[in-house]
């Protein structure tokens, strides 16, 4: 039985983790900047990276469905196992909902997303100021929830490693991959 995540699953996990930290930091930073060429540039970068993670999450979801992850330790109480699954489900839902809300917000605000300045992503909504403002709230709120779930995710991983002393953390770390 596999005790490790596959190399692909690990790569996607850590690549996206780094991108989420960058996107979150950039998102909160650029939001409060006064209008400047820098600000417009950062918004474009944020949107390009957002489209990228939105594509990556579907790839990751496909991989997750076709590659069963290692089972949780039998020593874990049923309720905790359930909580772990619920947490991971929430992370997947947020990884889809957050870029989607950003895409919808950009459409409603009348600023189309052009991926890397080259590939135009279709607008999902017509321009609508009120809806744009509402979707900005949605995008921000979802991200605050995302941060809370990520904190829980990291906290749980550390608890497993340092308190329970099981392999929950190490099986996602690079270098022990079982994938041939």
């Amino acid at each position: 039985m596999n005790t490790q995540y596959t190399r692909t699953a690990k790569s996607l996990h850590w690549l996206m983790a780094v991108m989420f930290f960058g996107l979150l930091a950039l998102g909160f930073y650029m939001h409060d900047l006064p209008l400047s060429p820098e600000k417009l540039k950062l918004y474009s970068w944020h949107k390009w990276a957002g489209v990228t993670v939105f594509l990556l999450v579907w790839l990751r979801l496909f991989w997750r469905i076709t590659h069963r992850p290692p089972a949780l330790p039998a020593s874990m109480p049923k309720l905790m196992q359930l909580a772990a699954h619920a947490g991971h489900l929430a992370l997947y839902l947020l990884m889809i909902a957050i870029p989607l809300s950003g895409w919808l917000m950009s459409s409603a605000k009348g600023f189309q997303t052009v991926w890397f300045g080259v590939l135009p992503i279709p607008d999902l909504l017509d321009k609508n100021k009120e809806l744009g403002a509402l979707l900005a709230e949605v995008h921000e709120t979802l991200n605050l929830v995302f941060i809370a779930v990520i904190v829980g995710h990291i906290g749980a991983a550390l608890k497993h490693h340092f308190i329970d002393k099981d392999d929950i953390l190490t099986r996602m770390l690079p270098g022990h991959s079982s994938e041939k």
């Binding site: 400047s36 417009l40 600023f111 052009v114």
Partner: protein
Amino acid sequence: MKRIALTAVFFLATLVAALPAQATEYTQLQADKSAINFTYKQMGVAVEGKFKRFASQLSFDPAKPATAKATFDVELASVDTGAPEGDDEVAGKPWFNTKVFPSARFVSTGVKPLGGNKYEVAGQLSIKGKTQDVVVPATFTAQGKSGVFDGSFTIRRADFSIGEGSWAKFDIVANDVVIKFHITTNSK
């Protein structure tokens, strides 16, 4: 006698009816049925904006296009850039500097018929103290009492120092700005 009188009345009536049709001169801007929009590119993204207030003195007689004249004054502070934050920004000094240069002005210097309903309007466009010659292609459509002009032309913002300082480079906001107009006029 009666027949002659009737004929005379008929003739006169025809003449009166034909008169305005012969000399229809469109002079009254219908601001609520007119629009001046523009499109600019921001890091490859086309963004649409518009000017909400503008005035015009014009006279256009389709039968005598060579004598046509048009002056447009666009209130630059009425700009809608598509983003509220942008509206305040472009009113400022690096962009329109509306405190010193409140309006943009277009004055026609000549109208050339291109056949059909197509015309070419040459004129001078002044924005922010800088004047450039522009050639504006336009189509004219008579709709009952109204005459409608449609067209678009491209200006380069740098020609008018629109977007100075940190905005002067074109990597974020492109140089080309497409101005699109839909002008409805009435005859008197």
